[in-house]
């Protein structure tokens, strides 16, 4: 049960119930759709980027607690970051949830994203946790086609 409690932490449950920045964005500079066809999770990421800095980010979608909380938390930490910092965060976040053992080190702090560390005990759920990030990556790369985690 402890692993389950680690996975479904209060912060995650809170973000699932009240996702932050959960809205469409008019005049977004970039947007991308993500989809996990195996579980039916869907997410759309909207970005406003000025001079390489993410000024605003929002999302919409539906999915499991992990995917929705992950998307919500992601939007919270991205504001004010450069595209490059965002990509770097993605790499470190990926390491965090797949237990590549680099959390805590130097570079951009993962901050509140660390509540998703419990995912590493649930390899089947890594796709849920990273869907929003893969979609962000596609948006930053100016790819308008849908990405999937399959």
């Amino acid at each position: 049960m402890n692993e389950l409690r680690d996975l479904y932490q209060e912060v995650i449950l809170d973000h699932r119930k009240k996702p932050r920045n959960f809205r469409p964005m008019e005049n977004a500079d970039f947007q991308a759709d993500g989809h996990n066809p195996l579980c039916g999770d869907r997410v759309t990421i909207f970005l406003k980027v000025h001079d390489g800095v993410i000024e605003d980010v929002s999302f919409q979608g539906e999915g499991c607690a992990i995917s929705m909380a992950s998307a919500s938390l992601m939007t919270e930490v991205l504001k004010g970051k450069t595209s490059q910092e965002a990509e770097e965060l993605f790499g470190r976040f990926h390491d965090l949830v797949t237990d590549n053992g680099t959390q805590g080190g130097e570079g951009v702090s993962l901050g509140k994203l660390e509540v998703l560390a419990g995912v590493r005990e649930f390899p089947m759920r890594v796709k849920c946790a990273t869907l929003a990030w893969h979609t962000l990556h596609a948006a930053l790369e100016h790819k308008n086609q849908a990405v999937t985690t399959e």
């Binding site: 579980c39 039916g40 999770d41 992990i66 759920r125 849920c128």
Partner: protein, 420 residues
């Protein structure tokens, strides 16, 4: 037969066989997962294997491993005998008229692809229609779409009602002089619905239209008699009926198999080859190109023996009682909605929990040692029909128990406590 009605008359169906002895036959069931006894309820995806099946495969590789049909040596003779004996067992199991009507393939999917290509490709042309239902598994949709791209034929989809039952009236309307083939699931993997196969076939035959049944979810759970059904093709997989993966069966009426061209070239499908002309072997060998899954076929034969020893009537009655009990117990859980409430069902309970995504349900149940399936079950059109992205699905096999159903219900309540 109407299994549901018979089950109602046998309130003590548990006596039909000794469930504890049956469970003891399945090594995988004897383990703990996350410190809890495994409750395996993902049988519609694949069933666990009893010791006799595992031992038959083991025996083949330890003693009889050789290629079949060609060599004159002892091992090849034994392997050939065991492989062909498996065909006889399958023939008896589904009551095919001739052993030649039993073609070994990789599974249901390959069986359907074989019919689509070998039967359909030369026979269909632009404007012809293939009739499916809205509850098909992807494997009984996509091969027909490929065929449509190749021939210009079109798919027509028979709608289902809110309970997940086929609209027979709509089916009758959709059957037309343009219909060349009906391909329909016998029992739905996502909804559990048992289709009125005899009715479907009778109506099609009245118009001279052949019918393929996807029997992947029917064969493991009820007696299937292809002659009584009068179907033209019947496809199923061993791994869902306590046999090995990678082997399955295409049953086809002799007249069709004779007339169909080979599906793949090479190996046993050949009588003689010259660069000018190749003579093809007769069915079923015409469709068994290359070295087949010999061990798999032998394992399938052992699975048939195992199921026949229990009796498919008994299996059907037992699972029906279990499933009725589970429906009753789960229906009492607040926020639980069943997807698929047909009158005639196999033991598949697909459900959603209000406010909780099926994947979270699956993860939490897994921690209780309970294996269920979550997702769209390779039946996305069904999910669309019911307006859900996915469901949680508990599916039963002959070794499941009421105690496991109680564990499932308790697990679902834990989901509510954690995420509610």
């Amino acid at each position: 037969m109407t299994i549901g009605n018979i089950a109602a008359k046998v309130p003590m169906a548990g006596r039909l066989f000794d469930i504890e002895r049956v469970r003891a036959d399945f090594p995988t069931l004897q383990q703990q997962v996350h410190g809890r006894p495994l409750v395996y309820l993902d049988n519609a995806a694949t069933a666990q294997k009893p010791r006799p099946v595992i031992e038959a495969i083991d025996h083949y590789y330890q003693w009889d491993n050789a290629n079949i049909h060609r060599a004159v040596h002892q091992l090849s003779e034994r392997a050939t005998q065991a492989y062909e004996a498996a065909r006889d067992k399958v023939q008896r199991f589904i009551n095919a008229a001739q052993r030649e009507e039993v073609v070994f393939v990789r599974g249901t999917t390959e069986a359907i692809n074989l019919v689509a290509q070998s039967f359909g490709r030369n026979r269909l042309q632009a404007g012809d229609e293939i009739l499916l239902s809205h509850m098909e598994h992807h494997s009984n949709i996509v091969p027909w779409q490929l065929l449509c791209e190749q021939t210009g034929a079109v798919l027509k989809v028979v709608p289902i009602n809110d309970a997940g039952e086929l609209r027979l009236d709509e089916y009758e309307k959709l059957l037309s002089p343009r219909t060349r083939l009906v391909a329909m699931v016998h029992a739905s993997n996502a909804l559990g619905t048992i289709n009125p196969a005899r009715e479907i076939i009778k109506l099609a035959h009245a118009q001279g239209v052949p019918v393929l049944l996807d029997g992947a979810q029917a064969v493991p759970h009820m007696p299937v008699d292809v002659q009584e059904l009068d179907c033209d093709f019947y496809a199923f997989s061993a791994h869902k009926m306590v046999g090995p993966t990678g082997i399955g069966v295409l049953y086809g009426k002799g007249q069709w198999l004779e007339a169909m061209p080979p599906y793949q070239g090479g190996g046993d499908m050949i009588l003689s080859v010259s660069f000018d002309k190749t003579l093809y072997n007769d069915p079923p060998y015409k469709f068994e190109a290359g070295t087949p899954h010999i061990a798999g076929a032998i394992g399938l034969g052992a699975a048939v023996d195992y199921l026949e020893a229990l009796g498919m009537e008994n299996v059907a009655l037992y699972e029906q009682e279990l499933s009725a009990y589970a429906t009753e117990v789960l229906a009492q859980i607040p926020g639980l909605r069943f997807i698929g409430t047909a009158q005639e069902k196999v033991g598949v309970l697909s459900f959603t929990l209000e406010g909780v995504h099926p994947h979270d349900v699956g993860t939490i149940l897994d921690h209780e040692g309970i294996a269920i399936r979550t997702g769209h079950h390779c039946a996305q059109p069904v999910m669309d029909r019911f307006g859900v992205p996915a469901t949680a699905r508990a599916s039963f096999a002959l070794y499941n128990t009421k105690a496991e159903v109680d564990a499932l219900a308790a697990g679902i309540k834990r989901v509510g406590e954690l995420l509610g």
